[in-house]
């Protein structure tokens, strides 16, 4: 529980600071400090545990099905990192208070810093590796905020995005790796994973698992070739660099190597991958560092190099190398943090970080200079400073490893070379800045920084010294316990002392020191050389190209697919459906059953000669009209007329094939559709304009023809296949129950208003929605109506020919009578609310057609939306009535009453439902048609002959 609180404390601090954004740099710093101290305090009671060999594990279930729990662990390794994170964090908080200017948004800074701190704590204290990954990604995110703190600067934005991209990508790879790891180990808990090393190494997935995890570690720890983000992250404020690139962010990678050391190490793959990456990084970083002119750039590459060193140590894989690795983690954290802070002071006081301009600062700031010298000496591996100790262990380990392979001598040689460069760049950091003549037009006159800004550096330098001189008294306990955490077992004997005799390692150190001094003295020609080739073949360039390629690829793919063309979409959809349909029918999946042929066993329905003549003629007419409509579709009015004929023939097909209700519906809908098309056609070109000939037009036509043909064949074939097969229909149920239980003889109508009344309720909702949608689209729509007809003649002057006007008025009451008839009989004979509604609507539309909108509107209710709503509510209300009586929604009832004189009277609740349908149909149809007829027409004065 206290572990959780320790992690939560920085997060809570971040939230509080972000929430309460009152001014005052100190206020924020104090709050941040308190949050850090609180975390330390929470950790305090648990600190003794690891020292007596206990591993504290605490767990709160979170997502058990995933195997992800809030499981935390405190062992030596975690404790060491937690202390570094919090301790150095505290110093950075203090330092930043003086480093940042009053113009900077301190609240945002400290909130982000605490966010980051909490994430780091989470990484090092996680017991569950998925939880570790979660915090891991949070460090990437929070570091993005920190690096981009000066968001107005383009290098800050670029650097932050680069860091996020590289470490974020690594995090995703790590996720993959950890998933595989958890799968192999059977758990995502470290306590299980760390004890399953043998099983993991023997598993066939070992290599992919290892590679994915290493991708995560290497990106985070800036290992070659993923190192380039780190120098670019130097755009961050220096306190951020001091924190992220000494003790925390980049250390997360090597932390992971240490953490999973027992589970993954000990194989040739591990040695080659980890050791190889470490060695290359060590060399490349050290080499480039020397040639940096930016103070922080030098430190950045040196950081890369030292991370390479640590990685190499873990790669060597012996327990002692691991101890050395942990030791160097501690040492690097201290001296690098202090160096960054010193660099920050210099930057702060001189206004620049360019070492070509900064010279001879010793004159103005000897105290800072002295501190920097100590830290730089530690970095160079000079005896009496902590860096020397771990570096010597490192040299010794490389010598040990060298004996294992044939060309092993190369390893000590290479690391000695790296040592040479390390000495040289450390020397440069001191000499070039504090000596080396006079400064060259510095923006500010330098002086010593405020006292409290130096305190953090003093503390860190003191640690460097103390550890360097009295290692056994100072660092040994925590190192031992941390190493125990790494190894998950006994720590090999190691002797932390200044003097180990004239070992090869000592000679290597001597060579490095002498060589470094010599190298630095002869630096001038090397610098000249580096300026000619520098930066051309950097990994950064590769990254830039890769990212540019990714964006280009994304644009290309997106452009190629999403051309914004409906025709393409439709063709794709049709093709997809064809593949599915034909594929489903023709392709028998492996191990699946055969599909059966297309033609089924059913005997076909015989036809008498008269019926056959009618059927043949009907088919002929239908196909002729449809073909003509397609061939002549550019002449739009003709196409509409021909389509009217097709609709009529379809209706005839329905009626002859025993579906009178369908025929009635089809006929009514057909006419309304024709009217709709005509209303629209008025505002459109009467003919398809002649298209310019396109080069690939024929290809497109061929494609369309193929698709259409295949679709026709497919759907026709499907129909044939089904029609020739017997099946067990649900029809008999409806036929048997229609009269006794539904109270109606017209089974189709009883299905519509009763058996499947819910469908009908939905269907009239669709109609109502169409009306609403259409009236919404029409509101404010302005269209140009042509002044001349297609042939260029002015329109006939008389809008309402008298004969038509009069006779259609005569027709209205007759049509309404028919509508009532159709509505009332629907339950027992063909008809019903829908058809009656359409008849009514058509009869009324006739009035608009023949007598004009103004004349007709004056005689009808103005707003038809309430009619639609009333219909819907009536239909739904009928259903609700049954709910009120305790039956399911839409349960119907009916009854017969015998009345004197009048005879039998049958009433069914479904009739009320049907009346609702009727109202919706009338209302919706009129809203649509009349709305379209009322479209505000503009005369653009254009003569469209």
């Amino acid at each position: 529980m206290t572990l959780l609180l320790a992690i939560l404390a920085p997060f809570l601090g971040a939230v509080l600071i972000a929430w309460n954004r009152r001014r005052g740099r100190l206020r924020f710093a104090v709050k941040a400090g308190i949050a850090t101290l609180a975390a330390l305090a929470c950790l305090g009671p648990d600190i003794p545990g690891p020292f007596v060999g206990e591993t504290l594990v605490w767990r709160l279930p979170w997502v058990p099905s995933l195997g992800l729990d809030l499981a935390l662990r405190l062992d030596g390794l975690g404790l060491l990192f937690a202390l570094m994170i919090l301790g150095i964090g505290l110093l950075v908080i203090l330092y930043a208070r003086y480093y940042l200017s009053p113009q900077d948004d301190m609240g945002r800074f400290y909130a982000s810093l605490l966010f980051f701190m909490g994430a780091m704590l989470g990484v090092v204290l996680a017991e569950n590796v998925l939880l570790l990954l979660l915090f891991w990604e949070l460090t990437s995110l929070s570091s993005f905020l920190l690096i981009s703190f000066w968001q107005g600067r383009s290098d800050a934005r670029t650097g932050a995005r680069m860091a996020l991209t590289v470490t974020g990508a690594g995090g995703l790879a790590l996720l993959g790796g950890l998933l595989l790891l958890g799968h192999i180990a059977g758990s995502f808990e470290l306590s299980v994973i760390l004890t399953s090393g043998d099983a993991i190494r023997a598993h066939p997935w070992y290599l992919p698992t290892l590679v994915l995890i290493l991708l995560g570690a290497f990106t985070k720890s800036a290992q070659f070739p993923f190192h380039f983000w780190l120098p670019n992250a130097m755009a961050a404020p220096t306190p951020v660099s001091a924190y992220l690139h000494s003790a925390t962010m980049v250390k997360a990678g090597v932390f992971l190597l240490a953490r999973l050391f027992p589970a993954l190490s000990g194989t040739p793959e591990w040695s080659w991958l980890v050791g190889g990456a470490g060695l290359v990084t060590l060399l490349v970083g050290a080499f480039i560092a020397l040639f940096q002119h930016d103070l922080k750039g030098l430190l950045a590459y040196s950081t890369i190099s030292h991370l390479g060193l640590i990685t190499l140590l873990f790669g060597i894989g012996t327990p002692l190398a691991a101890v050395a690795g942990v030791f160097h983690i501690i040492n690097h954290a201290t001296f690098k943090a202090s160096l960054f802070m010193a660099a920050g002071i210099i930057d702060h006081e001189t206004g620049t970080r360019d070492m070509r301009r900064i010279n001879g600062l010793w004159r103005w700031m000897p105290y800072t200079g002295a501190l920097a010298m100590v830290a730089a000496a530690a970095m160079a591996g000079v005896p009496l400073f902590n860096g020397f100790l771990s570096k010597e262990m490192f040299f010794a380990e490389t010598v040990g490893a060298a004996s294992l392979t044939r060309h092993g001598w190369a390893l000590p040689a290479a690391v000695t070379l790296a040592g040479v460069f390390a000495v040289a760049y450390s020397l440069r950091f001191i000499h070039d800045v504090f000596f080396n003549g006079d400064p060259i037009d510095l923006p500010k006159t330098p002086h010593e920084p405020p006292h409290w800004m130096k305190v953090p550096v003093e503390v860190l330098v003191a640690v460097c010294l103390l550890v360097g001189v009295f290692p056994a008294l100072t660092v040994e306990p925590i190192l031992a316990v941390a190493a125990q955490g790494v190894l998950q077992g006994p720590v090999p004997p190691h002797d932390l002392a200044l003097w180990h005799g004239f070992s090869p390692a000592l000679w290597m150190s001597v060579i490095a020191l002498i060589g470094g001094v010599l190298l630095y003295t002869g630096r001038k020609p090397l610098f000249a050389l580096s300026s000619t080739w520098g930066g051309r073949w950097s990994a950064r360039a590769v990254y830039d190209v890769a990212l540019a390629t990714l964006f280009a690829l994304a644009r290309w793919v997106t452009r190629a697919l999403d051309s914004g063309s409906l025709r393409r979409m439709l063709a794709l959809f049709t093709s997809f459906a064809l593949v599915l349909g034909y594929g489903g029918f023709l392709v028998v999946p492996a191990g699946g059953a055969g599909g059966g042929g297309l033609t089924g066993p059913l005997r076909l329905f015989p036809a008498e000669p008269g019926d056959l003549a009618v059927a043949l003629a009907g088919t002929l007419i239908l196909l002729a009209a449809a073909f003509a409509a397609v061939v002549l579709h550019r002449r739009r009015l003709v196409a509409v007329i021909l389509l009217g004929a097709v609709g009529l023939l379809v209706a005839l097909a329905f009626v002859t094939l025993s579906a009178p209700d369908l025929a009635l519906t089809q006929l009514s809908v057909e006419v309304v559709t024709v009217i709709l098309l005509l209303l629209a056609l008025y505002f459109m070109p009467q003919q398809d304009p002649v298209e310019p000939v396109r080069r690939w037009g024929w290809l497109r036509r061929a494609r369309d023809l193929t698709l259409a043909g295949a679709a026709g064949l497919g759907v026709g074939g499907l129909a044939w296949g089904v029609l020739t097969r017997p099946f067990e229909s649900m029809g008999p149920y409806f036929i048997a129950n229609s009269v006794p239980k539904g109270g109606g003889a017209n089974v189709v109508n009883v299905i519509l208003v009763d058996f499947r009344g819910f469908d009908t309720l939905g269907e009239i909702t669709v109609l109502a929605l169409a009306a609403l949608g259409v009236s919404a689209m029409l509101s404010g729509l302005h269209l140009y109506g042509p002044r001349y007809d297609a042939a260029g003649r002015p329109w006939e002057p008389d809008p309402h020919p008298a004969i038509m006007a009069l006779l259609t008025r005569l027709l209205l009451p007759l049509a309404l009578t028919v509508a009532v008839f159709v509505l009332l009989r629907g339950h027992n004979l063909p008809g019903g609310g829908f058809i009656a509604g359409l008849i009514t609507a058509v009869a009324l539309i006739m009035q608009y057609l023949a007598n004009g909108v103004a004349w007709t509107r004056a005689r009808l209710p103005g707003d038809l939306n309430p009619v639609i709503a009333a219909g819907l509510l009536l239909a739904a209300g009928t259903g609700l009535a049954s709910v009120a009586l305790g039956y399911p929604f839409l349960s119907s009832t009916f009854g017969h009453w015998h009345l004197p004189v009048l005879g039998d009277l049958e009433l069914a609740s479904a009739m009320a439902f049907d009346l609702g349908v009727y109202l919706v149909v009338v209302g919706a149809t009129l809203v649509i048609l009349v709305g379209l007829g009322l479209v505000c027409t503009l005369d653009d004065g254009e003569d469209r002959r």
Partner: protein, 113 residues
């Protein structure tokens, strides 16, 4: 006897329906073709409707006269259709065998298509 009458009515009706459509094909210009469907409407469908009324009145329960309604509808609507079609043709100045008053020698066939 009744069957004979029915058959006669049916055949006459079908025949006139056919002749109406035949005229539609055979007559030379739009205005003359316009006359053809009237036969189908009046005598053709008329006879068939009478046949239907006769058939159902003698077969089912009670007399069947609702066929009259179709006739009524047709007799009101068909002339209006014909009239409007003629007007439209005049508006479009369709080619006419008979000279159209007030339209000298402008035989343009603007309604084509």
């Amino acid at each position: 006897m009744q069957d004979l009458l029915l058959s006669l009515l049916i055949l006459v009706g079908a025949l006139f329906t056919f002749i109406g459509s035949l005229g539609l094909v055979r007559l030379p210009d739009f205005y003359t073709r316009l006359h053809a469907p009237t036969k189908a409407t009046t005598l053709g469908v008329g006879s068939l409707l009478v046949a239907s009324a006769l058939y159902f009145s003698t077969r089912g329960a009670g007399i069947s006269l609702h066929e009259v309604l179709v006739t009524l509808f047709l007799f009101i609507t068909a002339p209006v259709s014909a009239h409007l079609l003629a007007r439209a043709a005049l508006h479009l100045r369709l080619k006419s065998l008979a000279p159209v008053p007030g339209e000298e020698g402008e035989g343009a066939d603007g309604g084509r298509g």
